[in-house]
Amino acid sequence: MSQSITKVCVIGAGTMGAGIAAQVANAGVPVLLLDIVPKEGGNRNAVAEGAVAKMLKTEPAPFMSKSAAKLVETGNIEDHLEKVAECDWVIEAVIERLDIKQGLYARLEAVKREGTAVSSNTSTIPLAQLVDGRSDAFKRDFLITHFFNPPRYMRLLEIVTGPDTDAGVAAKVEQFADVAMGKTVVKAKDTPGFIANRIGTYWIQLGLNAAFDQGLSVELADAVAGKPMGVPKTGIFGLVDLVGIDLMPHLQASLTSTLPKDDPYHAIARSHPLIEKMIADGYTGRKGKGGFYRLNKEMGRRKETIDLATGEYRETIRAAGPSGKASRGDLRALVEIKGPIGEYAWAVLGGTLAYAASLIPSAADDVVAIDDAMKLGYNWKAGPFEMIDKLGAAWLAQRLESEGKPVPEILKVAGDRPFYRIENGVRQALALNGTYGDIKRPQGVLSLADVKLAGKPLLKNASAALWDIGDGVTALEFTGKMNALDGEVMKLIVEAIPLVASKYKALVVYTDADNFSAGANLGLAIFAVNIAAWSEIEKLVAGGQMAYKGLKYAPFPVVGAPAGMALGGGCEILLHCDAIQAHAELYMGLVECGVGLVPGWGGNGELLDRWQSNPMMPKGPMPAVAKVFETVSTASVSKSAAQAKEMLFLRADDAITMNRDRLLYDAKQKALSLVDGYKPREAPHFRLPGESGRTALSMAAEGFRKQGKATDYDMVVSDALATVLTGGEADLVDVVSEQELLKLEREAFMRLVRSPRSIARVEHMLETGKPLRN
């Protein structure tokens, strides 16, 4: 049904509207972006055009590629509203004023086709009020689609339908938002703040109140209501700085005016004089002069924090937050700590979880919707009900009761049972009627976590596992920290190949983790270096090369299915796959030079082959070599799958999945599509320029060094890379085989890994996560 939306109109080119338009364009669908005609200036489309121009300069980028930006057509609502007739979905993202929205809908009704969905991105206004006065036909086409900021990166979409909304129209929008735009749709009720912002605002308010009341420092508050709770480490004060302190009174006013009189929010909605003063003085957070935290430029960019009692800034002090298991996700241990930490944790967590539990069924039908909303809308690691399971529902109910607080109905229903359980290998959730039901995946969604619950791995060791994902397809999963790659992974690949060849049809390389793989296990490598186990290191390099080539030439199709970071060795395994089915958010690159090394697991030859066989490349021995040299020596990483395609990390016929949840399913289908008549690729042969080409590359690198863009040691590393890419001693008229190139790669790697300056780079990366520029 997603095909039935072929053009979208977004009205309102503010941050949200423009960002939503960009995400439609990222899906490859043309989008019309309209805004008002500016009061001054001759260009009537200036507002929408300005929004697109601004997005092209914004980081993180709203667009996944420059070609996506070209799909956005700009205009204004005075001259171009009739173009809405060409669109299948109109998203309204104008200012949060009922009269303005209603006025726009009246005009839209006159120009839109029947069946064209109209949705509002409102975060506060009830649907019933929005469609007041509109025709029945308009009401049938109307719904609320509430995106989160920034729309490209936040996966949550809350959809609210009204009593008159046509189910087909809603399904059409939902399907498009899910498959094309990559959003996870959570169905919310037509209640104020919907799900995520209602709970999120409550949580923030509790956090602010408790810190003021208990006299906690901002740093300590964030050290408690941050990582230990499985929420982003910015904590609450850091989050408010990020979204804008001035937004808080607006949210508060909106919720207090719309929430039912008996909602617990009214009791906690307070304004703090210090916060009012900060807003008045322009201290609105990161976008303003500073917030609860600031960088004092007059004192050499000193990090400062506001003292909640005095209102004065002072140097930021690293707070000693919880330790032990309370710092590692044991929520019961956290709230039971004696003293301010435990008290603060309980005030925030206990209150928030009780509030979330009280919203079933008024704001959402089930616990999964609430948990998904908080995980995807606020980046919490676990949703409120998953957190309650950690505390124990009965324990929570008892503690609330002992403090004289109301116990939400669903907690009573749960009793001493968890909200989630595994039954016969299937995850189930508890409903308000007291029964458990299977958590069903939508068509086209395959979860490796589900596969793992249901069975045992075909192969498994400390760093990788092989799973049967059905229909004759297997999945190779990395399991180490950050999915780091090591000898165990290579060993498992070598074992997997004959197994898959004899009993299965295809292999998918996939992991459920946020990041596909950050590359080789550097910690292990540095250990080997420290004991001078050079032959072990060389074995690891050669073993990786052999394992990856084994995958490449295996008698069955291998499909890589990366999402997030795919760096170094993680990039190299993908380069050896027959095809890649990538998540749209793919950050892929050969980054070895950043740690003073060169790609050692066949990445050089694979990328070289891609560029050499690109018909767009000029002829001759240098263009492909120079392109790969530029990409690898600068450790360039794609900022999207679309960009990875431009960099030829992905081939032209590799496919992109927008919705992370659909990646494994799509990859499996891709693998199955390659099974019939499968033949492995033939090994490439290279015509390389040898020393002359290396001289040319070193001239280019020298230019960068003179400009101050490359260090002295960069020259050494890039020369090692150049030696590999130009074929070492090769001559123009000779043919260099894949194996010869692998040998050059190994030699260059082994030369560099022994250098103290490379070792310093690796150690620095391990300690700080940042490259050392030595």
Partner: protein
């Protein structure tokens, strides 16, 4: 010796490489349009043309296949008209003129179209397959980068950043004033592109100020003094002049701009290639029997402000007579096309401004200089 004259000059508008209005135009198409413009402007009989000699610094890709012959065909010249591509890097199209003069001297023709073209958008500097000789690379500075030579000259002549920037500002202002006064219009041939006709330079930045230039980062050496603002920009463009015997020009009523009095070419150290004009100009002046003080017009290519300033100093040139309508820092430097531009420009200026002698000279990557002395024709 036969008297040889410049009997017509035309060029395309010059535009910044990659982002300018000519980035999407093939260099062969660009040059062909300029030659058609030159022929229509001068009224020369195409069948009388002996050869089309085209200078190009990186004659490969769309500038490959002996592009001069292809340009002649694209320009719809009679099939009897030949074509030859000449490469002497930045001196290419001035060399094309010198070649024609030599051919005339040995009685091998009397009408030549001499021009140059470079699309720095479409063929990268250095070409697609740079393969320097490793042994020569180790031996010296044969492959030194142009920016580095500009720094070397600045150091050697102690030309500070402010002095370079003052020259760049003046070049921009002179070019803008000339354009605004319509003084560039008659040399420019309107180029038809897919996006419409292009008839003005896109390189000139009249808003340039010394303050703005002072804020730029060094372009080639983090500790150096040469910036993008004091260098000629990467440029797309083509140029051409009509070179004939004076006798032919007079017999056919062609608009004679100037007579070629003398020419010279010389080598110098690659690492200070910007000083190339000094020796070559001295040789040409000596061959013409005149001194720098006799010059009324000078076109000295501004590859970089530092080298142009050094040449002005060493040659004892009167700065007021140098690049009257602005130089390459403002107008641009499409490598192979610059020589014909500055010879055509010097000849035109001699006619426009009056006076007896003009000099056109430029430096050449790898360490050379080239010069042409022109004389007014009564």
């Amino acid at each position: 010796m036969q008297s040889v004259v410049i009997a017509g000059y035309a060029r395309s508008p010059f535009h910044l490489a990659n982002k300018g209005a000519l980035a999407h135009v093939r260099p062969d198409d660009l040059a062909a349009q300029v030659i058609r413009g030159l022929i229509s402007k001068t009224g020369v009989e195409p069948a009388d043309i002996e050869d089309v000699v085209i200078g190009c610094s990186f004659p490969e890709g769309e500038q490959g296949f002996n592009v001069a012959r292809l340009i002649a065909l694209l320009a719809d010249l009679p099939i009897s008209v030949a074509g030859m591509t000449v490469n002497r890097f930045c001196g290419s199209s001035m060399s094309a003129i010198h070649y024609a003069m030599g051919q005339i001297a040995i009685g091998a023709g009397e009408v030549f179209v001499c021009g140059g073209v470079e699309s720095m958008s479409r063929i990268p500097m250095g070409g697609y397959n740079p393969l320097p000789n490793p042994a020569l690379m180790k031996k010296g500075n044969a492959y030194v980068s142009m920016g580095e030579t500009a720094e070397n000259v600045a150091t050697k002549y102690q030309i500070g950043r402010a002095e370079q920037e003052a020259m760049a500002v003046e070049s921009q202002h002179k070019a803008a004033a000339a354009r605004d006064a319509g003084k560039l219009a008659d040399e420019i041939v309107t180029i038809e592109t897919k996006a419409g006709p292009v008839s003005e330079d896109g390189t000139i930045r009249p808003e340039t100020t010394a303050e703005a230039l002072a804020g730029l980062k060094p372009a080639f050496d983090a500790a150096g003094s040469v910036t993008a603002g004091t260098s000629s920009p990467l440029t797309d463009g083509a140029s051409a002049v009509l070179v004939t015997t004076e006798e032919y020009a007079r017999a056919h009523g062609l608009p004679i701009l100037a007579r070629i009095k003398s020419v010279a070419i010389s080598g110098c150290a690659p690492e200070t290639m910007g000083l190339g004009p000094i020796l070559s100009s001295q040789k040409a002046l000596e061959r013409a029997g005149i001194s720098a003080g006799d010059l009324d017009v000078v076109e000295l290519n501004e590859a970089f402000a530092s080298q142009a300033l050094a040449c002005i100093k060493d040659l004892g040139l009167d700065a007021a007579k140098v690049n009257i309508d602005g130089g390459a820092i403002a107008i641009g430097h499409p490598l192979g096309a610059t020589g014909a531009r500055i010879v055509g420009k010097a000849a035109s200026l001699l006619k426009r401004e009056g006076g007896k002698y003009a000099l056109a000279s430029q430096c050449i990557g790898g360490g050379q200089g080239i010069a042409t002395v022109l004389e007014a024709v009564e």
